[in-house]
Amino acid sequence: MTTATIEDTEAGLAQGSNLHMIKRLLGFMKPFNTIMFFSLVTRSLKFIGQAAVLGIAAQSVGLYIEAYEPGIVNWSLIWSQVGKIAIAGTVVGFCSYIENYTGHYVAFKILAAFRDQFYFAMLPLAPAKTAKLQSGEAVSRVMTDCERIEPFYAHTIAPAVTAIIVPIVILAWCYSIEPTFVYVLAPFYLGTTLLLPWLVSKLGGDGVDYRRQLGEVNAFVSDSIQGVRDTVAFGYEEQRAKQLYKIGATMQEGQEKLYGADANQRALAEIFITMGILASAWWGTELALAGKISPLIDLPAMIAVSVVGFYLSVGLANNYTDFRVAIYAARRLFGMMDQSPAVEDTAATTPVVEASSVTFDNVSFEYDADDKDWSRQKKVFDGFSVDIQPGKRIALVGPSGTGKSTVINLLLRQWDVQSGQISVGGHKLQSFPLEELQKQFAVVSQRSFIFNDTIHANILMGKHDATDEEVMAAAHEAGLEEFIKASPDGINTECGERGSKISGGQRQRVAIARAILKNAQIVLLDEATSSLDVETELSVMQALRRLCKGRTTLVIAHRLSTIVDSDEILVMIKGKIAERGSHSELMSRGGWYARMFEMQQDEVDATLVAE
């Protein structure tokens, strides 16, 4: 059998030691340091209060017996002790409340800060470095990662700090009664708070193996489920199920190390704690018998208080899993955020574009040439040149994967060429500030991204300060008027997630309206009508013609019948212009274009495809 592997499971993770990650994560907390400090103080007070409650109760036995008269219940002492417990309990209550509130406060703040940071960090990277974020699932994973980091602040820092502060306070209190008690207790505290977590991280590893195996299993599971049609058709389902079980079981074996380390840690913690408690009883007794502390007041109180201390210290080791998950999530996020942008925005002044010509001069380009993990090791262009005159309507056709869309990606400067030059109106792309460059182009693509918002809001994207009249005019030109009139909500109709509530034709019209409103000099159409049926295509084409009128236009199309009237048709094959001319010229040449045109004439789908 074959083992599915995901080669990039570990790719794109931020590197560096855990300590480095912790430092970086702590950096995010800076704006909330004060409130976090407050949270830590109240949390510590809460546990000190709890220790006090138990200590007061334990001490009461001795106090009571000191003033003991057989047979007579000393209610006044009982009530005064209950009163003390009530005071300590109230402190615990209020501190618990404040700690919870401030804890939530910090957690929510950090969560929001993380998401914002991520969004703004991605901005300069999109879309060249955000290929991983194309699916909704991937973005949800990012959001889950943000949520997984939250426990680092809520369940790692706070327990860590209190696990150190509270035992110190307890030790200090013990010291004030009898210094030598500290010498016995302190090593056990140190062991549980510091030694154990360290040991666990040594024994359990960082979980990288586990993550890798999990990635493999998940890839195999997804592949099996998504390929069910072909599996069933070939009667292969039982073998596949067996393989799936086997690969899962193999991973399970691999997890033993992680499991074992955790179980050992629990056992070890238990030994430390139980021995620590017994040791405090032993030395306490010795002290009492030496007359240094009272056997019924100090001894029970010291035992009780040290027990509370141990409860705390073990909590730290228990949260180690949370911590590990958080660090892993942080590595993933930082890994994405740390990428360097594909293009740099350095131009300060905007060149004046008089005529919107487009020139590619000896351009060589390869996607992600600088990134080993993503590089496809394949040059898209190797010395590609083309010249588009202002105001012309040019079509770009050819087999898929030959670089048609790359032409658009490069024009929009989503990527930079490795050599050669691209210019608009005679000015190098790099001489435009990125925002100004975007203003040169209006793009309508096959699946134009429609936001989960109203039609109005989606069109407004073309010009954020447009008046309602301008938006309506653009909608009208894009052929949306009838639809808007027929909808009860009119132009405020919700488009749904990725435009799912409106039809494919309406989606393209919204995208066209948006482009019209933008009023850019160069129009780029990337398979703008490919997903529509013939009738819809015809009417959308009319709207597109209005958009393109008087503007330099570059059309990428699959269905050749839609571009026959272009001023010029460029046939691109393997990154080069293989044929160039008008429809009739190309037809008479009998090359790729003529062959493809005839083949498409042969196809019936266009006349059959439904919406």
């Binding site: 109760a57 509130y101 901005l123 179980a263 994207m461 019936v604």
Partner: protein
Amino acid sequence: MLGVDDRLITPDTMKWVKVGLLAGLATVPATIALYYVLGMAVDSAYLEYLNRFGGEWAGKEITVKAGNLAVLYMPWLVALVVIKAGLSWLFRTGQFRASSEAKLNVRDQIYKQVVNLGPGILGKRRTGEIANTATEGVEYLDYYFSVYFVQIWIAIAIPIFLCAAIFMIDPIVGWWMLAGVPLTPLFVGSSAKGFRRISGTNEEVKNRNSAQYLDSVQGMSTLKMFNEAMRRGKRIQADNEVQRQATMKLLLIAQIQFVFLELGFALFSTAVAMAVSLYRLTNGFMTPGEAVAVVLLSLEFSRTLLLIGEFFFAGALGREVAASVVKFLNEKSPLKKTGGTQTPASQGAGVGVELKDVTFTYPGAEEPAIVNLNMKLEQGETVALIGKSGSGKTTVTNLLLRTLDPDSGQILYDGVPEEDLSLEWIREQIGLVPQDPFLFYGTVRDNLTMAKEDATDAELMAAITAAELKDFIDASPDGLETRVGDQGMALSGGQAQRLAIARALLKDAPIVILDEPTSQIDVETESLLNLALERLCANKTVLLIAHRLSTIEQADRIIVMDKGALAESGTKDELVAQGGIYASMLQTKHDIEDAAVAAG
């Protein structure tokens, strides 16, 4: 015992859940013993203290030896330490094993159900969703099985054990402590209610914000093209802030209960334990050490709270996933009657298939996908099936593969009704070449041997040669071991198609269902493909889901489907003469051509 669907739990899972649970339960008396020992240590020290410094204890007789208990009972205490450590280890191991067994089983169950429901019921979209549950979702079950199940019982057991122990020390104190036990469910109830209220509103807000965020990240390049990305980012930030503040205001009031609960706990467990113990001590029913032990034990009551908090929040997500898995497992197989055993020998060229009055409606759909369809494929005949997308072509394929059963009507293979035939036999009769073949992550060889597991290299190469893929394999340094990457992404559309043809050639089934490739998937070498297809279809019964006029014209017969029903059937000339859908389609094509030529 676990209140969960049996299918999610295997005997192995159950075994480890029990191990974890027993170890967890045994930890409770061990902890109680430790606290009792501490109390006794105080008594022992007190007696020795009185011996050394004088004085007399007038209350209940102290039976423990005078001295330092930790020294006196050293071996017993060492045993206690070892037992506690061992139980802790076993508890954790049980939890881990249980969850890992459960995950293994759930993945297996999900896959079997995927096969059981089949591609007919599970569209492309749903398989993606299910794959997600089977991967990410299953990970959430971890906590559900390892923590939730075990912890809930331990949380119930702790107060019972504690009260029993205190009863043994002194029944009156025991009664008093018992009175405080209902506090726990009260706490859980009120915090659960508070949690639900907050998380309810929070969830809504969260979902709304998440949707907006998701939308913006996915649409980021569009936003950038319109120079809107910054503005939108700021808006999201502001929206989030408004909602965060609202949540915090809510929390400010909702969490005030913490004040009373913590105070209540201090008073009702520790203070009561202390006060009643002292009262009983006065009357000679308890020793000072016993009173100390009871006070220490009161701490254990609060541990229940910690536990409940832990599993309450952790369980919620796991429970959700478990519920969705169970819901999926409960879906009924689309096959009504299985268990047919006939495996007729083939009679000459191909196998004939007949659909008689077949009607089929997808579960949950209002309109039937197939309506009263009558259709016959004679042995060795090639039939072209055409129709708009959504007209039922794929459903016919799924019915023929018997991944769906008709609601009414019958499907016959060589005259035998499908329910009498073994399912394997039916699927052995069909070679499927889809338009978008699914190539599994792995090598070319892996993707071929699924058609014939024991195929020799010579057979593989023969199929590859017949599918016109030989040049590609020869040019690849790894040959048959060439990896085809994630869902075949390393191959071009045409190569993937030809690999699928090779797969079907290797299977050599008497019926071929072929979804003809179109120019959309870039058939750069159509002549090669046509050669390969000719070889595959020779002497077979062929159902050709056709997209090209030239191939449609070559078919023995043409069937036109419309809205799940048979609209037209006959030879090309018959259909043109009928002047129906086929004829009007030809007309539309001519119109477009004319328009194009005029424009050109």
